[in-house]
């Protein structure tokens, strides 16, 4: 043990990540060696690998441990978020298989990239050093850049990929700059040491706050929080729907989890400083999310704006700077993920004459031609708008409760008013499906078994959440408590 002093660490908490990374590389080898034969089985193996990873996470990731020389921390918070990430990625894969076939882009690289992005995201939520944080973020981002442009035949997808890459690179640069400022003025990258030096340094040097601002700006880009949201609608629209589903569900959750860890661990003593920034981001995101969506005619762009708005609500919970706030954010993101999965299942069902269509008006008359789909999407939209008795309401309830608890009254009022504006465009989808007459019918029976299953799960979650909300709130509470030890 002592011979390898620098290797003196315990690998057990890393097992899930290692397993998933090895699986991804294994699939790459299999895919390259066996070509077409492997194409059919790799999706299922990928699902299996994720399932195994989930099991491993539940076994080893919840115990408190800092490994890799202070780079990686496993605790209940990271464990919970990792489970959510795995769940979201599994849902994405379930949604993607049939869709990729239909679009003739079912290459095995898709699955490898998705798994690598998942590894990156899992490292992100466990990172407790600015260096490991940056590397995890880049692993995730680079995989996602490629995924955005995955449909090589489509110029729109290529545009989306390039746009995402260029702006993402800029954001990474800003983050690095911020990290270097923080390092320069505190002499440390480690969260624990940073916390200690923040405690001693009063007042904290302006440059550190400056660095934090840059770090936050970079993260806000990954979160697609306004005013760093510019890429979101274009990438959501241009990328293949399967990839958009992934973007909408998982990376934001990982980035948000990372953001909360940074803000509540090393920078917990700078709450008054960063709270202003978070409030600004929240307000901007809610405005952009609410008003930007009104004029959209493409459903993927609409969902993009809706996701910006939802990040705005989540940031309200962050701004509350309390355990209740983190709890609310986690619950909100969990519910948002569940709703989004179902929504994308319906978007994938929007095909006419074998081709995918994306205009909102294409849904006209759906309540007559395919009532089940229409009711499912209707329920999901009311839930997104935060109307009780659906799950979305409880996410908002917790968020606003945290805001009121932190006496952020103006922010809370702003949030509820924005949610009313947002209700307008969610209602528009309901209106198109239920009140308008169809001009052209959508194809019937587009969805595959896994897609139907995910849609059913999503709707069931949204409908029945009310019966036992405690079941979920208990676990988010445990996760939140892990980030707020003894405070």
């Amino acid at each position: 043990m002592s011979e390898f002093g620098f290797l003196d660490f315990n690998l057990v908490p890393l097992l899930p990540e290692v397993f998933l990374a090895l699986s991804a590389m294994g699939f790459l080898l299999i895919g390259v060696s066996f070509g077409d034969e492997a194409r059919r089985v790799i999706p299922w193996y990928a699902l299996l690998a994720l399932l195994m990873t989930g099991v491993l996470v539940s076994q080893v990731s919840f115990d408190d441990a800092i490994v890799l020389g202070g780079m990686f921390k496993a605790d209940a918070y990271s464990g919970f978020v990792k489970l959510l990430i795995i769940g979201g990625v599994m849902a994405t894969l379930g949604l993607s298989m049939r869709y990729l076939e239909q679009e003739h882009i079912d290459q095995m690289e898709f699955y490898v990239l998705v798994l690598l992005a998942s590894v990156g995201m899992m490292f992100m939520v466990s990172a407790v050093n600015l260096l490991s944080l940056y590397m995890a973020l880049e692993l995730q981002s680079l995989s996602l850049y490629v995924l955005a442009a995955f449909n090589r035949q489509s110029p729109r997808a290529a545009e989306a990929g390039v746009k995402y890459f260029a702006l993402g690179g800029l954001a990474s640069g800003m983050m690095l700059f911020g990290i270097s400022l923080i390092y320069g003025f505190t002499g440390s990258l480690d969260f624990g040491t940073l916390t200690a030096s923040m405690m001693v340094m009063q007042p904290v040097p302006f440059a550190v706050i400056f660095g934090l601002v840059f770090l936050l700006a970079g993260l806000a880009f990954k979160l697609s929080a306004a005013p760093f949201h510019m890429w979101t609608p274009d990438v959501y629209e241009g990328a293949p729907t399967a990839v958009t589903a992934l973007f909408a569900m998982v990376p934001k959750l990982a980035a948000l989890a990372l953001l909360m860890r940074i803000l509540f661990e090393p920078f917990a003593y700078l709450v008054p400083q960063w709270e202003q920034i978070i409030i600004f981001l929240a307000v901007m995101s809610m405005i952009v999310g609410a008003f930007g969506a009104i004029a959209q005619s493409n459903i993927k762009r609409l969902i993009a704006y809706s996701s910006i708005g939802h990040i705005g609500y989540a940031l309200i919970g962050v701004a509350a700077a309390s355990e209740g706030g983190i709890n609310a954010v986690l619950l909100h993101m969990l519910i948002y993920m569940a709703m989004t999965a179902g929504t994308f299942a319906v978007i994938m069902a929007m095909r006419r004459g074998g081709r995918s269509v994306e205009r909102i008006d294409d849904l006209a008359g759906l309540s007559r031609s395919q009532p089940i789909l229409a009711y499912a999407l209707g329920i999901l939209m009311f839930s997104m708008a935060g109307v009780p008795p659906f799950a979305g309401f409880f996410g908002k309830l917790m968020i606003f409760q945290a805001a009121i608890g932190a006496e952020l009254y103006a922010l809370a009022i702003f949030g509820v008013v924005a949610s009313v504006v947002a209700a307008y465009y969610y209602l528009r989808i309901v209106k198109v499906m239920f009140f308008d007459e169809a001009v052209l019918m959508l194809d019937l029976n587009v969805l595959s078994g896994p897609q139907r299953f995910i849609l059913a799960c999503s709707v069931a979650f949204v409908l029945f959440f009310i019966l036992s909300p405690s079941a979920f709130i208990d676990s988010t509470q445990l996760a939140a408590a892990a980030l707020f030890p003894g405070r």
Binding site: V387, Q401, A412, V416, F435, S470
Partner: protein
Amino acid sequence: MISFPILTILTFLPLVGALVILLFLRNDETGAGSARSMALVTSLMTLAGALILMLVFDPANPDFQFKEKMIWLAPLGIAYHLGVDGISLYFVLLTALLVPICIIASWRSVETRVREYMIAFLVLETFMIGTFCALDAILFYVFFEGGLIPMFLIIGIWGGKRRVYSAYKFFLYTFLGSVFMLLALMVLYMQAGTTDMTVLMANPVAPSIQTWLWWAMFASFAVKMPMWPVHTWLPDAHVEAPTAGSVILAGVLLKMGGYGFLRFSLPMFPEASAAFAPVVFWLSVIAIIYTSLVALVQEDMKKLIAYSSVAHMGFVTLGLFTATLEGISGAIFQMISHGLISGALFLCVGVVYDRLHTRDIARYGGIVKNMPRFATLFMLFMLGSVGLPGTSGFVGEFLTLLGAYQVDTLIAALAASGMVLGAAYMLVLYRRVIFGPPAHADATAMPDVDGREFAVLALLAALVLWLGVFPGMITRSMTPSVEKLVTHITQHHSEQEQAP
């Protein structure tokens, strides 16, 4: 009786019926027929349950009865908590009565998507009864707000020409009002540490923070009521909604606003309620006089009745905020009576609309000759709306004014003048539709009410007369609860005066 969850059954029975329709009935002609029967049976069973509730209800007990409490949102201490007292009992009864009537009224007039229509009505019934039974503020909000969804669909799918606009306006207006209530509930929760309405009602928060909470609640309930000047969604919604939608909107949904004032504003913020009562009084008087004048010039029958609803709700808010026994009893009585009368008036409009497919007053005239039975029933409801002694409308307005005179003579006098205007527009409507020269051949050729329509209208007519002659039937079990509320409010005022 305590262990038997009668309120849960009442609340969720319609939902079960809706599920049966959704899962077991086919989406075709035969399915439509069975959906109608199934919906009627379910709602009649709910009505029977509500009648049983009335019989076993102890009228001498001012507290909540048939309480049920279960842990629901444990981390926040929010519970599934139901109960009724003498005030909510009659709202539950009114809802349970009007839903089967709506279903009968839609028997022939709704022919598209019958299955979904019936499901929407039954789901709506669950939300409405739940609102009146809920004893936890968050649960109340869930029911209060959830009702928007089926009503949005009812207006939007089965409504008239401008249904989309009206459905949006209805939804967004009420949603905007309600979210402020949600914030107020959160603040209350932070202050009091509970969302249990019985606790909140018994222990009002400090007067210093009551002001803002009162206004937030007011925003929600005033829109729902609706009070002048936030009433503009109502005429649109009424005009475009299908007949049964208008009946339930005027009959029950508006009452949720008044019920909210009774359960939240008055008991939880007694000091703020007293402080802002003059504001409410003046808004009520403006509503009574202004909307009556507006009603006078309407050419659309439904719009006229919709404006008359705003005026009548003006009496309700006036009565509630007098905080006297007579005023509050009168307001509750007025709400119940208005539920019956305006529901019946919308049904009457539905009767002629089904025949001629227009709501334009000028297209009718002289139909007393071919529709004598209709003319008689319509007259009765018209007189009830005017507040003729002997009808239920009189009792509510009289009691309300009695309460108002104790508080402010000028306001009472102005409100009383509104009664005259009410008589004016209703009589004009009646004269132009029923009497007058028979200008249009098709109007004078309309057949009289058939058995189905007659049965519904006659039942409502009997109730209007019965309550007009024996108002004690309702006030008997209502008074203990109202007395308790009034004592609670006055106690707080006197404490307030003693502690400088």
